[in-house]
């Protein structure tokens, strides 16, 4: 399955800083301004991804890391219609509540 073509800003591949020294440490490095995350599992597996939810899912799949980090679904996003944000109680209604004269 080919991933959809998408232009992403090219960023340097950053190496994660290593501070913790335990046996089961997972790491995700990110350069602010870049869209890419670099994940590294305690078993040594590494992958790059564009979304922290997909990245943590990939890391937590240890030891059965999938071939790639799941990316947000571009096809679904294209048809996504945002729902209204419902408010039921009067105290949650924003804005002034005085009548306008």
């Amino acid at each position: 399955m080919t991933s959809p073509l998408r232009t992403v800003p090219a960023g340097p591949t950053v190496a994660p800083t290593r501070v913790l020294s335990g046996d089961r440490v997972t790491r995700v490095a990110w350069l602010p301004g870049s869209d890419r995350l670099m994940g590294e599992c305690s078993c040594g597996a590494r992958a790059e991804g564009g979304d922290p939810i997909g990245m943590w899912q990939w890391l937590l799949a240890h030891p059965d890391h999938p071939a790639q980090v799941a990316e947000p679904d571009a096809a679904a996003a294209a048809v996504h219609v945002p729902p209204p944000h419902r408010v039921a109680r009067p105290e949650q209604a924003a804005g002034p509540r005085t009548p306008l004269r």
């Binding site: 950053v14 190496a15 994660p16 800083t17 290593r18 501070v19 913790l20 335990g22 046996d23 089961r24 440490v25 997972t26 790491r27 995700v28 490095a29 990110w30 350069l31 602010p32 301004g33 869209d35 995350l37 979304d51 922290p52 939810i53 990245m55 943590w56 944000h85 419902r86 408010v87 039921a88 109680r89 105290e91 949650q92």
Partner: protein, 357 residues
């Protein structure tokens, strides 16, 4: 279902808040009474008289030696919560006792264990020794937050919210080029978020208080021990000056920012904050500056989170949130807290009749 993680240690108070007077605070939805014995050690027990539930922290309840006397009818309890005298009779009912809580005083905090007492020594208490250590000067306080604790965790794990004096100013050239690494140690249950700048501008405040001239190395590390203790380590030194191989760091300047996130109820939190430094120790101006700046930052967050809690509290469930790269550390913290909540959930207790055999 409660969102509060049970079978954990929480900061209940600063040591300086507890003395030879009755002191009540609600921790994780439980009303707790704190006081010091005559030998100075802190004790904690349920803050409701077994008789008619009067709060023992309310006047005219008071201490007499190592006992607390209820201000309503005079029920008297020892430092373990056992009732030792009741008015008008010599017989004290055998069930007359208050729940007693494990308490540890360390690092300027009074820690209390919320959950099953038998589990208290299987759960370690995370440390912040600089808060009560020679070589550090600390300013500290606590703000009441009318918001659930998870909102404060989200807030503190998001680096882009930081406005501490020495870091977090997104937009300076060094910060834009500095990677942020999130580490999770599954065994130790710690989330670490690091930003290490090898070569950066020295802000005027640091130049003035440390005497450093020229550029600096700036390290900023969040170390979160869910569910309660949050540490922010900030290290500043002239460029190229690193800690020694043996871990000592005599040429670095350190600021330690500490938060203890203690639920009061499902929808309110005690927001303990402290800033410790190992330089300009006797400079009152630096202390005042740090106290005021940190308190200002905390209050800005309190205002924002109070508003967020108001809108969340009555909303129906099921709204989707959207996470982006800045949320990497916050998501890790949420996951560990959810695992702790599952591990700490209480067994369903046997009925009182079944117990009274």
């Amino acid at each position: 279902m409660t969102s509060i993680v049970r079978n954990q240690w929480y900061v209940a108070a600063y040591g300086r808040e507890i003395g030879r007077e009755v002191f009540g605070r609600t921790i994780c939805g439980e009303s707790i009474l704190f006081w010091r014995r005559e030998d100075g050690s802190v004790t904690a027990m349920s803050d409701r008289c077994v008789h008619r539930r009067f709060p023992l922290s309310e006047k005219p309840s008071h201490l007499v030696g190592d006992t607390v006397v209820c201000g309503y009818h005079g029920f008297t309890y020892d430092a373990d919560g056992k009732c030792v005298a009741v008015p008008g009779q010599t017989r004290v009912p055998r069930t007359a006792r208050l729940k007693s809580y494990p308490v540890v005083e360390q690092d300027s905090f009074v820690w209390v264990f919320i959950g099953d007492d038998d589990r208290s020594d299987t759960v370690p208490i995370p440390r912040a020794p600089w808060l009560d250590q020679e070589g550090y000067t600390t300013v500290s306080g606590m703000e009441p937050l009318a918001a659930r604790a998870s909102l404060l965790v989200d807030n503190l794990m998001d680096l882009s919210h930081e406005t501490y004096l020495h870091g977090g100013y997104i937009g300076t050239p060094e910060v834009a080029n500095t990677p942020i690494t999130t580490e999770v140690d599954e065994d130790a249950q710690v989330v670490y978020v690091s930003r290490h700048m090898d070569d950066a501008d020295c802000p005027p405040f640091y130049a003035k208080s440390t005497g450093i001239q020229g550029r600096i190395v700036r390290w900023q590390d969040i170390e979160f021990h869910p569910p309660c203790l949050y540490l922010l380590h900030s290290r500043v030194a002239p460029v190229g000056v690193l800690p020694n191989e043996d871990g000592t760091d005599p040429n670095g300047f350190h600021v330690e920012v500490v938060y203890a996130i203690t639920p009061e109820t499902e929808h309110s939190t005690h927001d303990f904050w402290a800033v410790a430094r190992d330089f300009a120790l006797d400079d009152e101006g630096v202390s005042d500056f740090l106290r005021e700046s940190n308190r200002t930052v905390v209050l800005q967050d309190v205002v924002a989170l109070d508003a967020l809690e108001r809108v969340l509290a009555g909303e129906p469930d099921g709204y989707q949130e959207l996470s982006i790269n800045i949320d990497t550390g916050g998501l890790a913290a949420r996951r560990i807290i959810a695992a702790q909540a599952a591990a700490g959930a209480e067994q369903v207790p046997e009925s009182p009749a079944a117990l009274a055999r």
